[in-house]
Subunit: 635 residues, 2 copies
């Protein structure tokens, strides 16, 4: 009933070489076309381009002044100026053709008018002074640029200056994209359960556009071999390359490899990389056929590591290499010996050296790409990195931008995103990268130099005080500052209107709970409240089911996947949930004292102090503000 | 008769701040529009964007296998497997909705079929294992991206995943470009003397496009104030910003500043920068009016240093900063105290540290931008750099690309460009940067670590031998390799058909000569031949008129601007000139022995050895090849 396909496990380098070789044998090559040079910016030359005309194409005055024959001025000096009569010279402006039998220009500034209205020259002119001679910029016949050169704005100008009105460029290749899958639907409002929004084609199109190709997305093909094959047949006639999204794995309904085999030639199925393993490489004549895994991160990696190289044969572009940064591993990164792994990571410049913080999320999450700042490439047959190892991270953003990024990690609150937006709108040019690692995560990250700041709301269950006892404990040697954040209300979130009539944790015994992860301030609060009510957490169904954010918990309750969970009011309000307040807490920020004067931290503090911040939090609801951004405690 | 305007001399920073402030006061700001997210790649968000839906929006199987309630499996172990009957579970594929009352997936791989066709489970499942829960990727209400974020392919995917089908983005601004000048004509074949091809608008359009704007070029306005004002009036009603090219200086026919004053508000005229001094800044309501100097390099600098910043207010893009490289000055770079100067430079990684080689050419030459690899920014009130000073060079190309560039300097020969094209077509990924400094320039550059290789053809007038005695003299401690180049024919170039009947230098006394620069091999040859014929060079008219390339000399003779000049056959052939052979010479390449194994040098040698090289040189004409690329002499 359940059938297995078996995938190859070919090393990436080997797969790419085999693939590119086969494509070349099959005749995959760029085409070229003649286009107007005036519109050639951004295109790539298909041949060397030679100037057809010289620039300037005539001897031209390079200054405003008078043109004359230099020999007329020989002998002029301070004591014996030469007087020029009308007819001896021609008044010229910059760019004017040099009149016949003249070979120099005397600048307006060097002319002295005599009493009788004629010019006196107090020094001799040098032949060809202030003359732009023919070919000074470009000589006809000079090579303006070699083959396969991307035409910059300046090069487009040089083409026209050199009399090249039309230029032969590589044709922009057309890449067909075929999304497949019974469950896949085009983007829409309110998709049904089981319907998956097809957005990979938009990601792929964008990447192709950035690489100088055009993309054509075909209708979604259902999981029927005949339909997929029809679509490949059509697309491979219309396009220079065809990408088939999904159906490339080894499941029951994975037909991509078979469809490629039936419509063209299958080269291989399965790469020794993760993510991206279930890629399919083939071709139909000179048209590459590539099965792209359906998980967006896998798809993007296969695009980057295989499609881009094949596309370069058509676009003839030399794509810039990623900048590689040496950074310390924030924690152990394990990798299977069997695969070359590409680990998404954040990058922090908060400490004395850059740190790469691997992101946990899976290849199915597009946000794991939008949040990543770098890719750590772990070679096959290696085991990964230990905490503190120096590794090489391929940057996804310019280095300068990463250095200007405030890294915030710790307890989740939507207010951090609002601060990010205040940052952007203030025009200060700083970025903000946030991740949700819980309050204890913030403390650990700051101790290890992995973040500039982080939110904490840690209840000292003995004193009832928030945050201070924790930082005293975890930073025994001090050097830490507690920046006042906000007061906020925690409560039990329930379905809208609280249909189960939940009043406290005691009422949860027979319902399904959704919890927050260990180490989060909310989990600590939850564990404490449970103990206070004398409850046994193992009796609460779903107590071990963990989410990382308040909105994550709220979303599951809103969908009916859980009955209750602890979280902040703003999350409950966002989803229109029932909310039973259980605690008022202090949500503050910590920062190392040595970083306090960092302009990004100062901008963060200024954002907390801004009236915009107050307005936004009032809108979110459930917050109380006293002096956000003030120093609450310094230790 | 000749009128003077006087320009301001405002420091760049001050000018920019004043300008941007005035523009903001006048209401210059981005507009926004709602567009489909599927086409939003590359656009910039105008507001923060929040997810409208969670992704996944239902609990979904994350593996192919069976879905069931985890509690059904509790207690299963190796010795006591649990048997599942039909009806106990649901077969699911990855992405399927989890059936009601199920909370986990057991992977196909973990299922064992019993003899009676039913499944056996040998271990208990954990609730929610292999389930992609609602909101795992994105929770409704989460901020997907803040304001003013450029939408990457992944972010476009995230928009659709988060149910955001339309997104508010900054409207792409429209920038009007008005070329001005009586002498300016649109690109055409065979322009007349005095007509200047208008190509600045193409350069500006390209730059604007790269910065996320659209450009509209208006018809060329002649140098009449009323015409220029009409055009500004029209453009400022249709566009968000208007650039007026040329007429911004202080000459007789420079009307741009006046036209801006008459149509809007003139803020300032004249910046303390070079090139770029005669810029004009103004506005008409919220529409910036900018007078762009007519020299292309000046124009590009004003675009980069002033227009880009103003444009950012409309596009809301954060343009990446240039990478700054610390490099040694190849020679003294002087700068006026009065101006902040931007010096175009080449960059060489041929020695032990990167070297910046300032380019001599003026702001009127577009090739000075196409050849530049970096800009050296010399602050106002500083005097520049001494040879060997460490300076900061803003790179115009990625660092990696510069490191992969073979730097060739020395004697000019068109064959070097052919080698560059062979490089490009070989697909090796190396670039080549060449400059023409003459044979002695090659020797000096190699001694100073400023180039990988260079062509020399230096005649030892005592022995009649080429090149070897020179490298012995200038590299007394050795470490130098002479790579065989080509034999080539030097001769006197004359107008086509040699109408003056020139046979030797003796015949030149009454004609106009065009010479090569001191230090070039051709000049050394010329001086030698003149002496041999017993001539007095001061009697040859134009002997002090110097060009830097063979094609430069040929172009002037072809245009009738000079009667004769010494040069190689291929240049004469290119222009169809008369040619009287006077010498056969050896044109070889030198390279430091320590660089011989550099892969770029090896690629260069391989190119010289290629059959393609032979074919190309046969086509150029006047060359004889024995063993190009072989080691001729090692010292």
């Amino acid at each position: 009933m359940i059938k297995h396909n078996y995938l190859n496990n070919i090393p990436l380098q080997e797969a790419a070489e085999t693939f590119y070789e086969k494509l070349e044998e099959a005749g995959m090559a760029h085409k070229s076309e003649l286009i107007e040079s005036a519109g050639a910016h951004g295109r790539v030359t298909a041949t060397a381009v030679y100037a057809k005309a010289s620039s300037p194409h005539y001897n031209a005055a390079a200054m405003d002044g008078i043109a004359l024959k230099a020999s007329q001025t020989f002998g002029a000096c301070e004591t014996n100026p030469i007087k020029l009569k009308a007819g001896d010279y021609f008044v010229v402006d910059t760019g004017d053709k040099m009149p016949d039998d003249t070979d120099c220009v005397v600048m307006t500034e060097d002319l002295v008018e005599s009493e009788d209205g004629q010019f006196l020259l107090f020094s001799a002119a040098v032949p060809w002074q202030h003359v732009r001679q023919i070919g000074e910029d470009i000589c006809a016949g000079d090579m303006l640029m070699p083959s396969f050169t991307k035409i910059t704005p300046a090069l487009a100008g040089a083409l026209l200056a050199g009399g090249v009105l039309e230029v032969e460029v590589a044709t922009t290749p057309l890449v067909g994209i075929i999304p497949t899958g019974d469950e896949i639907v085009s983007p829409r409002e309110n998709p049904k359960a089981g319907e998956i929004i097809e957005f990979n084609s938009v990601i792929l199109s964008g990447m192709l556009k950035e690489w100088g190709a055009r993309a054509k997305t075909y209708p979604i093909a259902a999981d029927k071999p005949a339909l997929i094959e029809d679509s490949i047949n059509k697309a491979s006639q219309e396009c220079d390359m065809v990408l088939i999204i999904a159906g490339s794995s080894a499941g029951r309904e994975d037909y991509t490899a078979g469809a490629i085999k039936n419509t063209g030639e299958l080269i291989l199925h399965g790469l020794a990389i993760r993510p991206g393993k279930p890629a399919v490489l083939g071709h139909r004549g000179p048209v590459a056929l590539i099965g792209i895994p359906g998980y967006p991160v896998s798809a993007m990696l296969v695009m980057e590591k295989l499609v881009k190289g094949a596309l370069a044969k058509l676009t003839k572009e030399s794509y810039p290499q990623a900048i590689v940064l040496e950074a310390k591993a924030a924690r152990k990164i394990t990798s299977s010996l069997k695969y070359r792994e590409f680990v998404r990571a954040g990058i922090s410049f908060s400490g004395h050296e850059p740190v790469a913080v691997p992101l946990d999320s899976g290849a199915g999450l597009i946000t794991s790409m939008t949040k990543a700042r770098a890719i750590i490439d772990i070679e096959q047959n290696t085991e990964g990195y230990e905490t503190g190892d120096v590794l090489k991270a391929e940057l996804l953003q310019p280095l300068e931008k990463l250095k200007n990024t405030l890294v915030v990690t710790g307890s989740h609150d939507p207010l951090i995103d609002e601060v990010f937006d205040i940052f952007r709108r203030s025009g200060k040019g700083f970025d903000l990268a946030s991740s949700h690692t819980g309050s204890m995560g913030a403390i650990m990250a700051l101790k290890a130099g992995q973040a500039h700041t982080g939110g904490i709301h840690l209840l000292d269950t003995k004193s009832g005080e928030y945050n201070i006892s924790y930082i005293k404990k975890y930073f025994p040697r001090g050097g830490i500052v507690l920046i006042e954040g906000v007061g906020r209300t925690q409560g039990i979130m329930t379905a809208p209107g609280n249909p189960l009539g939940i009043k406290s944790f005691t009422d949860l015994a027979n319902h399904s709970y959704i919890n927050r992860q260990g180490g989060s301030g909310t989990r600590i609060l939850c564990d404490y409240l449970i103990r206070q009510e004398g409850l046994d957490s193992s009796k609460i169904y779903g107590y071990e089911r963990e989410e990382f954010t308040h909105t994550g918990v709220a979303a599951l309750i809103a969908a009916g996947s859980a009955d209750a969970g602890l979280g902040i009011y703003s999350a409950a309000k966002l989803y229109g949930l029932g909310f039973i307040p259980v605690a008022e807490e202090f949500y503050d920020f910590i920062c190392l004292e040595e970083n306090l004067e960092d302009e990004k931290i100062q901008a963060f503090i200024a954002s907390l102090q801004s009236s915009d911040f107050k307005t936004r939090l009032e809108k979110l609801g459930g917050y109380s503000l006293k002096n956000p951004g003030s120093i609450k405690f310094r230790f």
